[in-house]
Amino acid sequence: MAAAGSLPGASVTRPEGPRWLLAELTYRCPLHCVFCYNPLDYTNQGPELDTQTWLRVLREGRALGAVQLGLSGGEPLQRDDLQVLIAEARGLGYYSNLITSGVGLDEARIAAFKRAGLDHIQLSFQDSTRELNDFLSSTRTFELKSKVARLIKDHDYPMVLNVVLHRLNVDHVGQILEMAEAMGAEYVELANTQYYGWAHLNRDQLLPTREQLQRAEEVTERFRARVGARMRVFFVVPDYFETRPKACMNGWGSVFLTITPDGTALPCHAARMLPGLAFPNVRDADLSAIWYDSEGFNRYRGDAWMQEPCRTCPEKAKDFGGCRCQAYLLTGDATQADPVCDLSPHHHRVIEAVQRAREPGRQAQPIVFRDDRNARRLSAKTPA
C-alpha cells in the first residue's frame, strides 16, 4: 500500500477515545470562591444546554469509551434535571461523580440520586473552620456542608472530601485531615490551587510560601502514616513550586473531555482562554467528530507543535510540555514550554510570582470573589 495520505509531521495514529467526560452543567453557583477555575467572564457565555442535549452528549461520550463522568459546574445541584442525567449515566455504564459544594442537597434528593445510580459524591470544603470556609466562599455554608457530609455517609456513598489549599488555609491541613477522618471520608484531596480563572486573578493573595507548603506536606505524611490504608490522601502538587511541569490532562486530547454549560467542548476546563482556537460546540457536531476531527482537539496532540526546549527534550513523552493554558497565561504563547519547567526561558516568571506574593503589601489588596457582578465587570475589561 502506498502511503499516499501521510504528510510529514502528521500524526498517523488515531488517538484513543476519551475516558473522562466532565459535564459542567451550569455556571450558576451559590458560592463565590476566590480560587474558582471557571472563566472570569462566565456571565458572558451562551445559554445552558437543555436536558435532551445533555442526554445525547452522555450517549455519545459513552460510545467513544468515556467511563468516568464528572457532574460539575458551577454547582450542578442548581440543575433540576440532575436526577434524569444520573439515571441515564448509570444505564449507559458510567461511573458518575457528583462534584458539589453540597448546597442544595437534602435527604430526599440524596436518596433519589442513590436510586438513580449515582456512584460517588465529592464534597468541597474551603477550610476546617467556619470562619474561613464562610469567608472564602463568601457564604454561610459551613454548617450546611457538615450536614451534607453526614447525609453522604448515611446513604453509603464513597466520599471524597476536597479542599482547595492556598496561603489562607494551608496551615490548617492537620485540622482539615482530622475533620475528614471524623466525617468518614474515604478519600481526601488536598488540592493546592492551580492558578487559572479567578485563582489567577487572586494569585498574589493565594500563593502560599514554600515554608507553609513544606509544613503542610509533613503534616500530611504523618497523617498518612497514622491512618494507613483506611483513607487515601492526595496532595495535589502546587506546580509553581516545582521545577518540572505537570503532565496536564495526561496530554492534550488524550483522556479528558469537558463540555461547558453552553455546549462548548474543551480538552481541559481552562482551554477556552486560548486565543485563535475555535472549540466546537455539541449543538453543531457529535462528540466523535469533535474528539477526532476538530482543530481544537488536534492542535496540541502529539509533539509537532512544540518549540525548544520541549521539542528535543527526552521528558516530552512524560509531561507533554506541561500545561498549554499556563504557558499562555504566563508567556502569551500557548506553544511555549510550561514556565513551571526550569528549562523554560520564562521560568523566572514563576519564581517572580512566588517572590512577589511574599511582599507584605500584596496581601492588602482586596481579594476578588467569583460573583456575577465581578464577572460582568471583568468581562467588560477583557474581551472573551
Partner: protein
C-alpha cells in the same frame, strides 16, 4: 478500606461496595471503578474477579478456573491474586 486478615478457602468473597466491576468494550478489559479513578484488570485478573458473585467460595472459584483453563497450574496464582485484591480493598471476605 483494608483488612489484614488472610482469606481462607471457605471464604465467600464479594466485590467491595467501594468499587464497581464492569467490562469495558472500549478497552477490551474488565475494570474496577472507584471515585474519579479506574483499575484496568489484566485478562487473568478479570477472569477471577468476574466470577466473584457473593456465592462462590474461594475453593470453588479455583476449581472453576482450573476447569475453564485446563492444563494450567492456577491454584497458587489465583490465591495470591485474591489475597492482593483483598489487601487492596477490592474484595471483602465473608463466610
Amino acid at each position: 478500606m483494608t483488612t489484614e486478615s488472610a482469606l481462607t478457602l471457605g471464604d465467600v468473597p464479594t466485590i467491595s461496595n467501594k468499587f464497581r466491576l464492569q467490562y469495558e468494550q472500549a478497552q477490551s478489559a474488565w475494570v474496577l471503578l472507584y471515585p474519579e479513578g479506574m483499575v484496568k484488570l489484566s485478562a487473568t485478573a478479570g477472569e477471577i474477579m468476574r466470577r466473584i458473585d457473593g456465592k462462590i467460595t474461594v475453593d470453588a472459584l479455583v476449581a472453576e478456573l482450573e476447569a475453564a483453563f485446563p492444563g494450567a497450574a492456577l491454584r497458587q496464582d489465583v490465591l495470591d491474586f485474591l489475597q492482593e485484591a483483598h489487601g487492596r480493598g477490592w474484595i471483602a471476605s465473608g463466610r
